[in-house]
Structure formats: structure tokens, C-alpha cells
Amino acid sequence: MFGYVVQRLFVMIPTLLVISALVFIIINLPPGDFATAMLQELESQGGSGAQKATEIRALYGLDRPLIEQYFHWLGGMMVGDFGFSFEHEAPVTAVVGERMGLTLLINFISILFIYLVSFPIGVYSAVRQYSAGDYAFSFLGLVGYATPNFMLAIIMLYVLNEAFGISIGGLMDPAFRDQPMSWDKFVSIMQHSVVPVVVIGTAGTAAMIRRLRANLLDELHKQYVVTAKAKGLPPGRALRKYPLRMALNPFIADIGNLLPDVVSSSVIVSVVLGLETVGPTLLRALETQDTYLAGSFLMFLALLTVIGMLISDLALAALDPRIRLGGKAVK
């Protein structure tokens, strides 16, 4: 088991290296750089700054070859220096600060929401197949799956503001912005996270319900279940002992698929909802070609995804003996 974990950790390194190169190249693909983006802004405000652009390029090393900039960034990241955000004129770590924490919080709650909601519904739908409840949940699930989440976000914002007077957008009441964490602030964050969590989680929940239901149905019609029932095993035990455990495999393995989904959709949703997560900052950084800020964000998210995959593999191995032992058996 230990060897397995170590091996997986080693595989992560080249993966992340490739991701870092891709990220860097893609950010630098559009024409222009941060200096041109900044120049446009200056001009749109009636200023002029052709000479300023040259200054900025020299100051931030944007006049260097791309490959040199890349290795400079990569080298910095190895020792925890994620570079400098041009837009915010501060080190990237200072900009990311609280936002990364809130992002992780929102994504964590969303995933929790997905599991807590989809598990009972999925099991219910499979066990009571073609019942009224099954149809109702399936209908809701399909609607949730098919609605673009930014659309859902806007509708929920409107309804919550009209009905409950919760301020539009944001993850907390404006009064708590940049205040140290307190109970009131926590409560405010929780109230405001209802919309994003539901919005981010809906599509994932719907997909998860479908998957669990299908897997469980496959198992329920197998002969060993029929035999168990015929021999008089109580229905609850006949469900829990084997079929449910079998059906759980894809449920756990899906963390790997779920994480990138949740993370990327949370970026869009954050922009629509104006959340104080990394989403809006990331989008803005990409627009202004704030290379190091955007790059570092994307690397954080990539790291998160890779770790999520690892956790899902480990959980699967812990849950299912066949996977733990399978590797050896083939040899």
C-alpha cells in the first residue's frame, strides 16, 4: 500500500510539470501582454502611456524570452515564490490569501452537498424503480442536469433577494468584508453560500443520482440478490450487504471526475454571483494577461484536482479489496 502511494505521488510530478507548461503557453498565446492591456485602460481614461508600457515591460521582465520567463516562474514555485501580480502590484500569495480559503470551502461544501443529496435519492430511485417518487426525482434531476448553472444562479439571486432580502452576490454581507473571522461573519458566509452551493452542486448531484441508480439497478437484478431474498434475508440487509457496496465503487471513483467539474463550474458561478473566491480574480487575471497570478491560480486548481484523484483512488482501494489485491493477481 505504501509503495502504491509513493508511486502515485511520483507520477504527480511530471503531470504537474506538463500542466504548468501548458498553462503558461496558453496564457501567453493571445496577442499582446499585460503592458498592452494596461495601456488600453490608461487610454480609455484619457491618459497616454506608450512610454509607460516600455517601463512596465522592463520592470516585470516581460521583454525577456518566454522560455526564460517560464523557468523563472517554475523555479520560484519550487521554493514557494509564486511570482508577482502585475495588476495588483503585490506578491501572488498576498492576492490569493483569503480567497483561496473561501474557494476551497465552497468547493468542499458543494461536494459534500452532492454526496449527501444524491446518495439517498439514488438508492431510493433504484430500490423503488418506476415509482412516483422515482419519476419525480428523475424529472428534477434531469432539469437540474440540463439547466446551465449560471442561469440557475441568476434566477436564484433574484428570488432570494426579492423573497428574503439577502444581498445580491458576494459570499458575505458587505459589512463583513475584510473583517477578521467571527461567528457573525461565519453565519453570514453560510447564509450566502446557499445559492452558490446549490448552483454548483445541482448538475453534479443530478449526474450522481443517475449513476448510482443505474449501478444499483444492475446489481439488484443479479442472481445472488434474488437468491438472498429467496432465502429470506431481510430486504434492508439484502440491499446493504452486497449490492450497495458494489454500486458504491463508481460513486467513489467519480471524485476524480467531480472535482474538475465542480472547480471549473465554480469559477463561472463565482463570476456571475460576484463571490469573493478565486473565480473573478482568475478571470480578470486572464483578461489582463497577468501571467503569474493566472498561472499560479491554475496551478493551485490543477494541484487540487490531482490530489483529489489520488484521494479517490486511495478511498477506492480501501473500500474494495479487489482493487487493492488486483494488481498483484494479474502479475
Binding site: 495588476e87 495588483h88 454581507d173 468584508r177 457573525d184 461573519k185 447564509q191 456571475v272
Partner: protein, 645 residues
């Protein structure tokens, strides 16, 4: 009985309140406590010996202290909007768009515009209580502007006349003299800009970051502490007065920022040493705090409609007026419409420096440009897209500018297809293809590709124009591009025609540099290469080679050599006339409205103002330091209590 007692108690309370109000009449309640504790000198000692009497507009009234004004912004960088709105400048524009002294007590212009004597207000202090003197000007001029490390690009170009530096003298603590060999008409306007030229810096604070004034080891420690690359970067980052992003940097503006980016909420508090007073001699500003909440720009209209702001103009668009109007009553605010003072909201730019020789000849034929302008139905555009609220006509000055002339706005702008067709025939494009479109001299069909970096609005406008142009035998194609690509195509001479906003400043006075109407910038889409030539001093681009282009350059130079206002007025009139007659840009509509949401009970905001960057500084023209809340409860509220909702 109980009721009576309550009434008596309430009356007593009110009397007490009134009494205290009188006692501390000249002191803002927010500062009165600090004064009482001895932490702050009384207001008489904080004001300059001769404070600036704020120029209240006809509809503005005396106000009362207190309250917090909340606004929404989309980025942390928007803290610089505060410097625009609060608009304290050495000299500034008043509501008649005349330059008047503000921070300065007075300015003497001597020797036909070659010498400027700036008189400071004796006793004027920075927001930290330190004296504001000529030494702050000396620090900037000698230790910043002429320091190669701090200003690698050299002294700002507004201070150069024929590439020569001025002579700057500091005869006494309240006098600064700038003297050039030739007139410098750019000097005072540059100081009054929405993003002004700062020719002073709080020397006592900036010394901390300057290699000349600080021991190397202390400097090194500060560089490390601030995470800067070198002392020059640190100095520049700490001293950006315009950006209002350093709470420690002393300021002369009415409010000072209290927290540093990155943050999602910026709080500005009153500057206890601000130099303006109202007619009763009470120190401004009236409002204690201004808050900028940072959110997504797309949410700002929604949040405004939900009543979450007290004053909002930026990031609201004209097409959001219906949303804003619909929830006015429910959330207690009103929506004002201020005219945007651009020369034209949108204009078409024929590229006179396009590479294609056939196109170049055609576009340079004034008859062609006039024909295209005559073939635009501006009335229809205005009705269909702007609810009939815009002003139709060419890209020129607006009513309100001393240079406004209705005839210039209307010239070649009346919808007249017959005349347009006659002009096009006269050029010799009488042959038509099977679709009915004219053929150019080399046999190609007359298909104009209009490139745009805008959105759906530009596309809508262009598709309407395309209908009427078709009746003149001109085919129009729309090509959307990103701004970067569009500009590079224009700079490179590949674009035939583009659409963009017109003159940024439709309210110019003769004292403004006529740089928008002379070919001096490559971002002028109608003659990018000429502008490039001027900007690079001939290294790239092309020299203006039409009589009109050369005339514009001569007039531009004449403006700089002018000694008085009359000469400058003549130059401006001549240039504007040339533009109107030559149709260098085809103006469509102007004066589109900017919605402004104002909380009920927020007073001194004009019903119909103008919304302009320069001159105007958005709210700055109307003096945000004079805005106040009429509702005492609103004024008494220190900060909105966190209700957890």
C-alpha cells in the same frame, strides 16, 4: 401620563441635541471627539489661513455633517476613481469649465504664458497634519522628476517646451515659479485633469523611501518589507497619489483611504485638514465616509436596483435604465440621466492611411466621405436604438462647450440619398454589378468592411447603416475583432474603415490641447500612420501628405505658440471647421445618457448634469465634498450595522 412624560423627555433630548449641534457647529461630529481628547487640533488650526470657498452651484444648498456613502466598483484598482470624484487639484475646472485655483490660493500667468507663479495657501496641511509647502514641490521636481531611476522616461512631456526643461524656483515656502523660454499652454490644464499631473509630493513621508534621504540599511530593510524589487519601485508604489492605494500616504483630497489592497471593500474617511469650506465657513466634506465595495461589474446594475448603493454612475449602462427605474420606489432611490459629453457616441473612421492604393485614393476624396455621411439616416438610428434621446450629427463639440456650433454638428449630416448618389456618380463610380452595388476604379465592387471591437450595439448600428448605404450602391460588411487585433490592423494600414467612439472631450475649451483633432496619435483611427509618424518623431508611419492634414498640423503647432486665449480660440475654430467640412470622421449620434442612481435624501446632486471624464471628472465637477444626507438618521449612522443578512 406616561405618554406625556415620554413627550417631555423626547423634547428635552431634542433640545439637548440642538444645543450640542450649535456648540460644535464648525466641527464635524466625527472629529469633535478627537478634538475634545486633544488628539486633533480644533478646526480653526487645521484649515489654511485662507481656506477655499467651495463654489456651490445654483441648486446646491448648505449641508450637514455625517453619514456613509456606499458605491460599487468592479476592481481593487478602482480606488483611483476616488481621486477623480473628489477632484481636489492645484487648479480645477469650475462648472463653467473655467480654470480656477483650488489647492493653490492663486496663479499668476506672466510674460505671455511663459511664466507661472503658483501661490500656496499659508497654513495648508497634509492629511497627517504636516505643513504643505513649496518644499513638497521642490522634492518632486528635484528628487523625483529629474531622478533617472524614479523617472526613467524623464520629466513629464507636459513640462517640456521644445524639449527644454523649465526653470523652477522656490523663492519662499508658499511660492513656486515655473518659467519656460516659450509659452506652455499645456501646463495649467494638465494640473486640472481628471488624472492630473502631480508636481508635488509629500516630501516628509516620501523621504523614507528615497535613496538620497535614507540610510542604505534602512532602505534595504524597507525594500524587503514591502516586497519590492528596488528602491525606485518601492518609492513609486508608495507615492501613487492618483491611485489612493496607500493609507499612509498623506493626501490633500477630501477623503483618505484607510486600507490597502488586496481587499474587497475600501473605506475612505474624511481628511481633517481639507482646505475647502462652505459659505458658513464650515469645513468640507459633509459626508464622513465613502465606501467602495468591489463586486463583479455585471452585478452592479442588479445590486443598485436592490438598493445596495447610495450613489452610482460608473458601470451602469443606458440599457439598464428600465431595470433601475422599475425598483426606484421599492428601494428608495432615483435614477437621473446625465449626458455623456463625448463628441460622438459612435463615429465611422475612414482610414486615410490605408495601404491599398485604390481605397486610399477613394477615401481621401472628400466627396466620397461626404456621400457616405449623407447616406446615413441618423434620425432612424436615434429612434431605433437610443429611444430618440440622443443628439444626431457630426463628431464635434456639444452644447456647453464655448466652441459649440450647431451648424458644424449638422454639416453633411442630413439624410439625403439623392445628393449622396450624385456625389458618388460625380466621383466616377457609375458602373454597377449585378446586385446593384457600385464598382470601384479597378473594377472591384464597392464593399466597405467596417471593423469593430465593440459589441452588439455597434453591430445594430452598422446593420441599420448598411440598409441606407445599399440605396447609395455601397455594400457594408461588419467584421468584429478584438481591440488588440483591430488596432494592429489600423496601425498597419490594413483596415479600410472602423467604428468607434468619437472625440473623448465634447466640452473642450480653447485652453485644451487640440490633440484629438490633429493627427498626433496612432490611436486616431482615421489617420493612424500620420499619428504614428508624429509620436515616433518620424521613425515610423507616414508624414501627413494631404493639404488638409498638413494644415491641421500647422494649426496644432500654432496653438502651442499662442500667447492668449483669443489666438487659441481662433485655432480651435479653424480646426473644428476643417473637420466639419472634410468629414474626417463620420459622426452618428452624441449625447447618449449615463444613468446615475441616487439614494433618496442624498442632496446637492444636480438633476441633469454632464457625465464626462475631462473636463468633468464625473462627479468631481459637482463637488462630491458638498454632497450630504438630508436625513439625520442617515447622518447619525456611523457604519451600517452588520445584521448578518
Amino acid at each position: 401620563m406616561i405618554a406625556l412624560r415620554t413627550v417631555v423627555a423626547a423634547l428635552a433630548l431634542m433640545a439637548a441635541a440642538l444645543h450640542t449641534a450649535q456648540a460644535s457647529d464648525r466641527e464635524a461630529p466625527m472629529l469633535a471627539a478627537l478634538v475634545a481628547e486633544g488628539k486633533l487640533p480644533p478646526v480653526e488650526e487645521r484649515l489654511p489661513a485662507l481656506p477655499k470657498l467651495a463654489d456651490f452651484g445654483p441648486e446646491q444648498t448648505l449641508g450637514d455633517y455625517g453619514g456613509t456613502l456606499t458605491m460599487l466598483m468592479a476592481r481593487a484598482r478602482d480606488t483611483r476613481q476616488m481621486t477623480v470624484y473628489s477632484y481636489a487639484r492645484l487648479v480645477k475646472y469650475n462648472r463653467d469649465l473655467e480654470l480656477v485655483p483650488d489647492i493653490l490660493e492663486r496663479v499668476e500667468v506672466l510674460e505671455g504664458g511663459r511664466e507661472f507663479v503658483l501661490h500656496l495657501r499659508p497654513g495648508h496641511r497634509w492629511s497627517d497634519g504636516e505643513p504643505f509647502t513649496a518644499d513638497d514641490f521642490r522634492y518632486w521636481w528635484e528628487d523625483v522628476a529629474q531622478n533617472r531611476e524614479l523617472s526613467p522616461a524623464g520629466v513629464p512631456t507636459e513640462l517640456l517646451v521644445d524639449d527644454a526643461l523649465p526653470e523652477v524656483l522656490f523663492p519662499d515656502p508658499v511660492t513656486v515659479i515655473y518659467r519656460w523660454q516659450a509659452p506652455n499652454p499645456r501646463f495649467l490644464p494638465a494640473l486640472a485633469e481628471a488624472t492630473p499631473l502631480y508636481i508635488f509630493m509629500p516630501g516628509h513621508y516620501m523621504h523614507l523611501f528615497h535613496a538620497r534621504y535614507t540610510k542604505p540599511e534602512e532602505l534595504a530593510a524597507r525594500i524587503k518589507q514591502t516586497g519590492s524589487r528596488n528602491w525606485a519601485q518601492m518609492h513609486n508604489n508608495m507615492g501613487r497619489a492618483r491611485d489612493a492605494d496607500n493609507p499612509d500616504l498623506p493626501t490633500l483630497e477630501p477623503w483618505m483611504v484607510t486600507n490597502r489592497p488586496p481587499a474587497d471593500r475600501f473605506v475612505f474617511e474624511r481628511n481633517p485638514y481639507f482646505h475647502r469650506v462652505d459659505a458658513q465657513g464650515r469645513q468640507l466634506p459633509y459626508i464622513d465616509r465613502v465606501i467602495f465595495d468591489i463586486t463583479q461589474s455585471g452585478l452592479i446594475a442588479g445590486k443598485t436596483a436592490a438598493g445596495e448603493v447610495d450613489l452610482q454612475g460608473r458601470y451602469l449602462r443606458f440599457d439598464e435604465v428600465t431595470l433601475l427605474k422599475s425598483s426606484e420606489k421599492k428601494h428608495g432611490y432615483s435614477t437621473l440621466l446625465w449626458r455623456i459629453a463625448k463628441g460622438a457616441h459612435l463615429a465611422l473612421y475612414p482610414n486615410l492611411t490605408v495601404d491599398d492604393p485604390v481605397w486610399r485614393t477613394l477615401l481621401r476624396d472628400v466627396r466620397f466621405r461626404r456621400a457616405l455621411s449623407l447616406a446615413v439616416n441618423r434620425y432612424e438610428l436615434n429612434r431605433v436604438i437610443y429611444f430618440g434621446l440622443a443628439i444626431e450629427g457630426q463628431n464635434t463639440m456639444l452644447p456647453g462647450s464655448p466652441l459649440y456650433d450647431l451648424e458644424r454638428r449638422n454639416r453633411w449630416s442630413k439624410f439625403d440619398l439623392a445628393e449622396a448618389n450624385r456625389l458618388l456618380d460625380e466621383i466616377g463610380m457609375t458602373e454597377r454589378d449585378s446586385r446593384g452595388f457600385r464598382l470601384m476604379a479597378d473594377g472591384r465592387p464597392l464593399e466597405i468592411i467596417v471593423e469593430t471591437a465593440g459589441g452588439t450595439e455597434e453591430a445594430d448600428v452598422l446593420s441599420l447603416i448598411s440598409d441606407s448605404w445599399a440605396q447609395a450602391g455601397v455594400k457594408l460588411f461588419i467584421k468584429p475583432l478584438s481591440l488588440d487585433v483591430l488596432r494592429n490592423r489600423i496601425f498597419g494600414g490594413r483596415t479600410v474603415m472602423s467604428i468607434g467612439s468619437g472625440l473623448e472631450n465634447g466640452l473642450a475649451t480653447p485652453d485644451f490641447v487640440p490633440s484629438e483633432i490633429a493627427p498626433v496619435d496612432q490611436n486616431q483611427y482615421q489617420w493612424a500612420k500620420w499619428g504614428q509618424f508624429y509620436q515616433t518623431k518620424g521613425a515610423s508611419g507616414e508624414a501627413p501628405d494631404t493639404p488638409e492634414g498638413m494644415l491641421l498640423m500647422d494649426l496644432y503647432d500654432a496653438w502651442f505658440a499662442s500667447g492668449d486665449r483669443q489666438e487659441r480660440t481662433d485655432v480651435w475654430q479653424a480646426m473644428l471647421d476643417l473637420h466639419a467640412d472634410q468629414v474626417f470622421s463620420i459622426g452618428l449620434v452624441a449625447g447618449v445618457y449615463q444613468p446615475i442612481a441616487v439614494r433618496d435624501g442624498l442632496a446637492n446632486i444636480p438633476q441633469d448634469g454632464i457625465w464626462n471624464w475631462s473636463p468633468g471628472a464625473h462627479f468631481g465637477l459637482y463637488g462630491m465634498d458638498r454632497f450630504y444626507f438630508t436625513d439625520p438618521v442617515r447622518r447619525g449612522l456611523a457604519v451600517r450595522p452588520g445584521n448578518g443578512g
